[in-house]
C-alpha cells in the first residue's frame, strides 16, 4: 500500500539511473538524514553522542571502506585495524608537526597516507587469493602494530607510547562539544557514504564486482585485474584511514597502538559480514549491531531492575551477543542488509501476499 512503485514512470535515463529510483526510498533516506542532522542534535544526550552515535558513525565509515574491498571486490582483508592506525598516526603527526594545517586537510591527507600503504599491501592480491590473501594482509596488521609501538618518532617520543590528539580546529572554529563532534562526524560519514555508493554503481564498482564474481571472466571481457584490485585497496584504505583518524581524534582523544590491534580488524570484518557483503546499508547495520548491541545488553539488566553482579552482566552480554551473531548468520547468511531487502519485498506485496 505505502511502499509501491506502481505509477512511477521513468521518462529519461537520468531518472532511471538516479541514486534511489523509488520515490519512497528517496523520501526515507532524506528523512533519515534530516532527522540525524536536525532533530538528533537537540534531543540526544551526551552519553548517546559520545558512547553510541559517534563510535557507530565512525565504525560505519570504516565498515564501508572494508565492504568496498571485501564485499564488492572480493579481496578478504584482516589488515583494517592497521590501515585505521596509519590514518590515526599520520593525522597525529601532521597535526602536531604542522600545527597550522587545517584539520580537514589533515584528515584527507591521513586518508591519502592510508591509501598509499593500502596499495602497497594490496600488491600481493595480484598473485594470491582468498585465505592466503587474508594471511598476507594480517602481515600488514602486525607490521603496523610493531611500527607504531617501537618507532618512537611516530609517537613524537612520548614516554609511554600513548599519544594525545591536539584540539580539532577547522577554519578557526574549534570542535569541542559532543554535538559539534557528532555533526562533524555525521557530515563526513554522509559524504563518504554518498561517494562510496556512487563509486560502486559506476564503471569502477562494476569492475570490482566482476573481479569478485569471477576474475578470469572479468579479464576476458577486458577488465584489468591489477587496476581493479589495487583501486579497491586504494579506495578502501582511504575510507578506513579517515575513519581511523576520526576514531583517534574524536572518539579516543588519546590512544596507543592497542586501539588498532587485530581485534579491531576482526570487529570490522564481522560488521561487514553480519551487515551484508556488498552493501553500503549493510555497513551501517553491521556497525550498529556490533557497536550498540553489546552496550544495550550490558545496561538492560540494570535498567530493568534485575539485580545481577557486574561480572555476571558482563558474562551474559558475551553469551547473548555471541548467540545472536550465530542466530543471524543462520537465519540470513547474506546479512542484515538482505533481511532489510526481504522486508521491502514483503512490503511491496502487502497486504496481499502470494
Amino acid at each position: 500500500m505505502i511502499y509501491r512503485e506502481t505509477g512511477q514512470f521513468k521518462t529519461s535515463y537520468a531518472a532511471d539511473q538516479q541514486l534511489f529510483p523509488i520515490v519512497q526510498d528517496r523520501v526515507f533516506v532524506v528523512a533519515v538524514i534530516a532527522f540525524a542532522f536536525l532533530v538528533v542534535p537537540f534531543v540526544a544526550t551526551e552519553y548517546l553522542f559520545l558512547a553510541i552515535l559517534i563510535p557507530f558513525l565512525i565504525l560505519a565509515l570504516a565498515a564501508i571502506g572494508l565492504n568496498i574491498l571485501v564485499g564488492y571486490c572480493g579481496q578478504v582483508s584482516l589488515g583494517t585495524g592497521a590501515f585505521m592506525a596509519i590514518g590515526a598516526y599520520s593525522a597525529y603527526n601532521l597535526a602536531v608537526r604542522i600545527p597550522d594545517l587545517n584539520l580537514l586537510v589533515v584528515f584527507i591527507l591521513a586518508g591519502v597516507f592510508a591509501t598509499i600503504v593500502g596499495v602497497v599491501f594490496g600488491i600481493p592480491s595480484l598473485r594470491i587469493k582468498g585465505f592466503y590473501l587474508a594471511v598476507a594482509t594480517l602481515a600488514a596488521q602486525f607490521f603496523v602494530d610493531w611500527l607504531f609501538a617501537r618507532v618512537s618518532w611516530f609517537t613524537n617520543d612520548s614516554s609511554s607510547g600513548s599519544v594525545s590528539a591536539p584540539p580539532i580546529t577547522i577554519f578557526g572554529y574549534t570542535i569541542v562539544t559532543p554535538v559539534e563532534q557528532y555533526l562533524f562526524v555525521l557530515a563526513i560519514v554522509c559524504v563518504g557514504a554518498l561517494v562510496a555508493r556512487n563509486l560502486t554503481r559506476g564503471a569502477i564498482g562494476r569492475s570490482w564486482m566482476a573481479t569478485r564474481d569471477m576474475d578470469v571472466a572479468a579479464e576476458v571481457i577486458g577488465i584489468r585485474p591489477m587496476r581493479a584490485k589495487l583501486s579497491a585497496f586504494a579506495v578502501s584504505s582511504f575510507f578506513v584511514g579517515i575513519a581511523g583518524a576520526l576514531w583517534a581524534f574524536i572518539r579516543l582523544g588519546s590512544w596507543e597502538p592497542l586501539a588498532f590491534d587485530v581485534n579491531r580488524s576482526f570487529q570490522l570484518l564481522f560488521m561487514v559480514i553480519i551487515g551484508g557483503l556488498g552493501s553500503i546499508l549493510g555497513s551501517f547495520l553491521g556497525a550498529a549491531f556490533i557497536v550498540i548491541l553489546p552496550l544495550v545488553l550490558n545496561q538492560l539488566p540494570t535498567r530493568l531492575g534485575i539485580p545481577l553482579s557486574t561480572a555476571m552482566i558482563s558474562h551474559i552480554e558475551f553469551m547473548v551477543f555471541g548467540a545472536l551473531i550465530v542466530f543471524f548468520l543462520i537465519v540470513e547468511p547474506r546479512g542484515l542488509a538482505r533481511l532489510w531487502a526481504i522486508g521491502k519485498e514483503k512490503l511491496r506485496m502487502w497486504p496481499f501476499p502470494h
Partner: protein, 442 residues
C-alpha cells in the same frame, strides 16, 4: 502460550520498547542532590580479573563501610555504581560517559590506558581523576594536570626506588637490568626514568616487552636466559604476572633477583607458583597484606558479619590488592572531607573535591585514627605535587605470605622532577594548555 505471529510481534515490540527504554534510561537519574555519586570502573572479567576483582571489592567495600559505619561523609551518603571495563580503554571511556550523567565527583579507573584517555576529558567534565599508584607519571605536576591525582606515588617513583634498592647490593656500573613490561602505556611508563637512571649509574637497561594479555612469554624468558641480567624488574598486570613468575622458574632465573612493581606483587601473582615463587620481591605502595588493623575489623563487623560484603569471603579482606582498593577509596573520601571542610558539610561537586584533593593533608595520627595503621605514609598534596608522598618499601614472598624486607625508601626527586617538568611542559604545548600559576593558589 502458543506463539502466534501476533504474539511474536507483540513480544518483538515489547523487546524494542525495553531496548529503547534502556537507552533513554541512561539520561535519567538526575542528580540526587542529597548524595555524592562516585562512579566505580572495575574489571571483574577477562585476563586482568584476578587482580581487578580484589581491588574492586576493596574499593566498593570501603564506600559501603563509610555509609554503614559513619552514615556517609559528614552525614552525606555515598552513592555508587559499578561498570565493567574489562581493562579495555574504549569500554572504560564508555563507562565513564555512562556514569557521568549521574554527576560523579571523582573516578578511579584502575588502568593507565583509561587514565590517559580520561585525562583529556576530566577538566571539561569537572570530575577528579584519582590514579592511586598508577597513571601518568608526569601528572603529579598540578599546574598542567589540574584534575589528575596519582596519589601515593607514580611509576617513576617506583622505578627509582627499585634502582635504589638493588644499588644497595653493590654499585650498578656495568650491570644489566632487564625490564619485562606489559606492552601498553602502563608498562612503558617507567622506561623514561630507568633510561635516565641507567645513564647516571652506568648500568645497561634491557627492554623486553610482553604483548597483551601476556600469557605467551617463552621468547622473553629465553632472552633472559641468554643475557643473564643481574636484576629483572617486572612491570606486568593480570595473568601476565603469574606467567612471568612461572617462566622465571622454568628458566631457573633466581627469584631473589626479581623485583615487581606494586601492581606485580600481590597474591594472585605468586599463588599459582606458591612455594616456587619464594624469594620474589616487589615494591609495596606503602602497604602489603596487612589484615589486623581496625579498618579490617570494621569491614568484618559492619559488612561481612551482616552478609553485606562484596567479596566472596572475608579471607579476601586484607589481601594486597583489596587493601589498595580500600586505600584508593579512602583517599577519595578524605578528599571529599577536605572539600567539605572548606565548602560546608553538604554534597560537594567535582570542582570542590578537586580543591580538597589538592589540599589533602594526612599525618600519621590521622591515618591511624582512620583505622589504617601505617599502611599509608603521611601525605600532603600541593599544586606542584599531586602525589603527596613518594615512599615505599620492599616486600618479599616467603612461599605463603608477603613480609617486609627493607626499610622505607624514598624516590629521589632530584632525578625525577626535571623529567616531570619537561614532560608536563611538552604535554601543555601539545594540548595548548596554559599552566596555572601555582604561587597564586591558596
Amino acid at each position: 502460550m502458543k506463539l502466534t505471529p501476533n504474539g511474536i510481534r507483540t513480544k518483538a515490540a515489547a523487546l524494542a520498547l525495553a531496548v529503547a527504554g534502556a537507552l533513554a534510561g541512561a539520561q535519567d537519574v538526575a542528580a540526587q542532590s542529597k548524595e555524592i555519586f562516585i562512579p566505580v570502573l572495575v574489571y571483574r572479567t577477562g585476563a586482568y580479573a584476578p587482580n581487578g576483582v580484589p581491588w574492586a571489592d576493596g574499593f566498593v567495600d570501603y564506600l559501603k563501610l563509610v555509609n554503614e559505619r559513619d552514615g556517609g561523609v559528614n552525614g552525606v551518603k555515598i552513592a555508587f555504581e559499578e561498570c565493567e571495563t574489562g581493562y579495555a580503554t574504549d569500554r572504560g571511556v564508555e563507562c565513564y560517559e555512562r556514569l557521568k550523567s549521574r554527576h560523579g565527583v571523582a573516578v578511579n579507573p584502575l588502568s593507565t590506558g583509561i587514565t590517559y584517555a580520561l585525562t583529556d576529558k576530566v577538566p571539561g567534565d569537572k570530575i577528579v581523576l584519582f590514579s592511586t599508584g598508577y597513571g601518568r607519571a608526569d601528572s603529579i605536576e598540578g599546574s598542567v594536570f589540574g584534575w589528575n591525582f596519582p596519589l601515593l606515588g607514580t611509576y617513576w617513583d617506583a622505578a627509582d626506588m627499585l634502582v635504589q634498592q638493588v644499588k644497595k647490593k653493590g654499585p650498578l656500573k656495568g650491570k644489566k637490568i632487564a625490564l619485562v613490561y606489559h606492552d601498553s602505556p602502563y608498562g612503558k611508563e617507567p622506561i623514561r626514568l630507568l633510561e635516565e637512571r641507567a645513564k647516571l649509574e652506568g648500568f645497561q637497561l634491557i627492554l623486553l616487552p610482553v604483548t597483551h594479555p601476556g600469557v605467551e612469554q617463552k621468547a622473553t624468558w629465553l632472552q633472559i636466559r641468554q643475557q643473564r641480567p643481574d636484576f629483572v624488574f617486572l612491570w606486568g598486570w593480570g595473568v601476565m604476572n603469574s606467567t612471568s613468575i612461572k617462566e622465571a622458574i622454568a628458566v631457573s632465573y633466581p627469584r631473589l633477583q626479581m623485583y615487581g612493581v606494586w601492581w606485580s606483587s600481590a597474591e594472585p601473582d605468586v599463588l599459582p607458583a606458591e612455594d616456587a615463587a619464594k624469594g620474589y620481591n616487589g615494591i609495596a605502595l606503602g602497604h602489603s597484606s596487612e589484615h589486623e588493623f581496625p579498618v579490617h575489623k570494621d569491614m568484618v563487623k559492619y559488612l561481612y558479619d551482616k552478609g553485606k560484603g562484596t567479596a566472596k569471603g572475608k579471607d579476601e579482606v586484607g589481601s594486597v590488592l583489596y587493601n589498595r582498593g580500600m586505600i584508593s577509596a579512602m583517599l577519595t573520601i578524605e578528599s571529599i572531607k577536605a572539600a567539605q571542610g572548606k565548602y560546608g558539610k553538604r554534597p560537594v561537586n567535582g570542582e570542590e573535591v578537586r580543591w580538597g584533593a589538592e589540599h589533602l593533608s594526612l599525618d600519621a595520627g590521622k591515618i591511624k585514627s582512620l583505622g589504617f595503621g601505617d599502611m599509608v605514609q603521611p601525605l600532603k598534596t600541593s599544586c606542584h605535587d599531586h602525589a603527596g608522598v613518594h615512599r615505599g618499601r620492599i616486600h618479599t614472598w616467603d612461599g605463603h605470605q608477603w613480609s617486609y624486607t627493607s626499610d622505607w625508601l624514598e624516590a629521589d626527586q632530584k632525578v625525577i622532577r626535571p623529567i616531570v617538568e619537561t614532560s608536563a611542559k611538552a604535554y601543555a604545548a601539545e594540548k595548548k594548555i596554559t599552566p596555572r600559576d601555582c604561587s597564586k593558589e591558596s
